[in-house]
Symmetry: C2
C-alpha cells in the first residue's frame, strides 16, 4: 500500500483512505458504459428471445432480469469482494464505476456493515437467482411469478433500507452536487424501487388470477348445458 | 434526564447511556410474558377460527400472522419510537423486554442506522400487513399467498441482514453468555428465519400449482371421450 498523496473527493472529508487514486476515466465515459451496456443487454435479450413463444412484455422482463442480474453479480460483486477498489491504478471500468459512485455514498469505501452485507446478498443471492428467473421466463415455468415477486421484494427492501440508513445518518456520506445527489444517489437507485414495484404488481396480478381460477375451478364442476 | 449512577450491562462497555436504569423485572418474568403471550395468541387464533372453513394448517398460519404482527407493531414499534427505553423507571414490560434484549445487541440502545430503519419497516410496514394477511387467510382471498410470501421474504431478509451486520462488526455488541448469545441473539431471531422459510415454501407450492393449472387449462381444451 503506497502513500499516493492524492486527496479523495468523498464526504465526510475526514475519512481516511490510504492509497486513494482518483478516477482515471471521465465520468461521461463511466456513465456511458454503465447505462449503454445495460440498455444493450435489454435490447439483445428482447431481440434474441424472438424464437420463444413469449409476449413482448415477457421478453422485456427477460431483458430486465438478465440486465439486473449482471449488474448485481458483476458490478456489485466487485465492490463486495474488493474493499480497496479506490486504490486501483489500472483504469478497470468496474473499479472506476465504484470510485465515481462513492462520491454519492462514501459508505462503500468505509465498508459500512449494512452496505457490505446488503450488497453481498444482492450480488451473490439475488444475482444468480436473476439468471434462474430468465430461464423461468423463457420456458414459462410455473414458478416464474413466485421467483420474480420474491427477488423483486428483496431488491425493493434492500433499496428502501439503503435510502433510509443514509438519511438516518444525515446524508453525511453524500456529496450535495446535483450529479451526485440527484442523478446517482436518488436517480440510479430509484430504478430498483420503480421496476421491482412494477414487477411485483405484474406477478401479483398473474398469481392472484391463477389462485382464484384454481379455487373457483375445483369445487364447482360446471355442468355442461 | 437525570444522572442515575447505574452502570449499564451492555457491550462494548464504553458506550455511554445517560440515565440508564437497570431491569426492574427478573428475566424469567420477561421471557414468560413474551413467549407465553405469543403462544397464547397463536392458541387463541386457532381456537377462535373454528367457525371458518379452514384446515388446521390454515388456522395455524392465521395464528402465526396475528402473533408476529403484534410483535412487530407493538414490541418492535416500541423500540423504534422510544430511543430512550433504557431510562424507563416504571417497569413497563415493553421497555423491560428491550432493556433485557439489548444485552444481546447494544445497537438498539446506540441507535444504529440499520437497526432503527429495519425495525421501522418491520414495525410499521410488515406489522400492519400481517393483520391484512390474517383477514386474507380467514376469507381465503386470492391474494393471500402472494401477500404471505412477500412479507415472509421481508422478514427473512431483514433477519439475515440483522445477523450479517452484527457478525460484520465482530459481534462487538453481543454479550457472550449463553443466555444472551445463544438464546436471545441466535435462538429468538432464528424463529424469523425458520417460519418465514416454511411459509414461503407453503405459498410457493400453492402458487406454482395454481399457475400450472391455469396454464395447463387454457391452451389445451381437453376433448371429451
Amino acid at each position: 500500500m503506497t502513500q499516493t498523496g492524492f486527496k479523495h473527493p468523498y464526504v465526510p472529508e475526514d475519512i481516511e483512505l490510504e492509497g486513494f487514486v482518483p478516477n482515471l476515466l471521465p465520468y461521461e465515459q463511466i456513465l456511458s458504459v454503465f447505462f449503454g451496456g445495460s440498455a444493450l443487454v435489454v435490447l439483445l435479450m428482447v431481440m434474441l428471445t424472438g424464437r420463444y413463444k413469449l409476449s413482448l412484455v415477457e421478453r422485456l422482463w427477460a431483458g430486465w432480469w438478465m440486465c439486473t442480474g449482471i449488474i448485481h453479480l458483476v458490478i456489485e460483486g466487485t465492490v463486495v469482494l474488493d474493499s480497496k477498489f479506490y486504490q486501483d491504478t489500472t483504469g478497470n471500468i468496474l473499479k472506476e464505476i465504484w470510485k465515481e459512485y462513492t462520491k454519492a455514498d462514501s459508505r462503500y469505501a468505509t465498508r459500512d456493515a449494512f452496505i457490505v452485507q446488503m450488497e453481498g446478498v444482492t450480488a451473490f443471492v439475488w444475482g444468480p437467482l436473476c439468471f434462474v428467473i430468465v430461464l423461468g421466463i423463457l420456458y414459462r415455468t410455473s414458478w416464474r411469478f413466485t421467483a420474480m415477486a420474491l427477488v423483486s421484494l428483496g431488491q425493493l427492501y434492500g433499496d428502501v433500507l439503503y435510502y433510509l440508513t443514509c438519511i438516518h445518518e444525515g446524508l453525511a456520506h453524500t456529496r450535495t452536487e446535483p450529479l451526485y445527489f440527484w442523478a446517482y444517489f436518488i436517480g440510479a437507485n430509484a430504478i430498483w424501487i420503480v421496476v421491482p414495484l412494477t414487477c411485483i404488481a405484474y406477478c401479483a396480478s398473474n398469481i392472484n388470477a391463477a389462485v382464484a381460477a384454481a379455487a373457483g375451478g375445483k369445487p364447482s364442476k360446471r355442468k355442461s348445458s
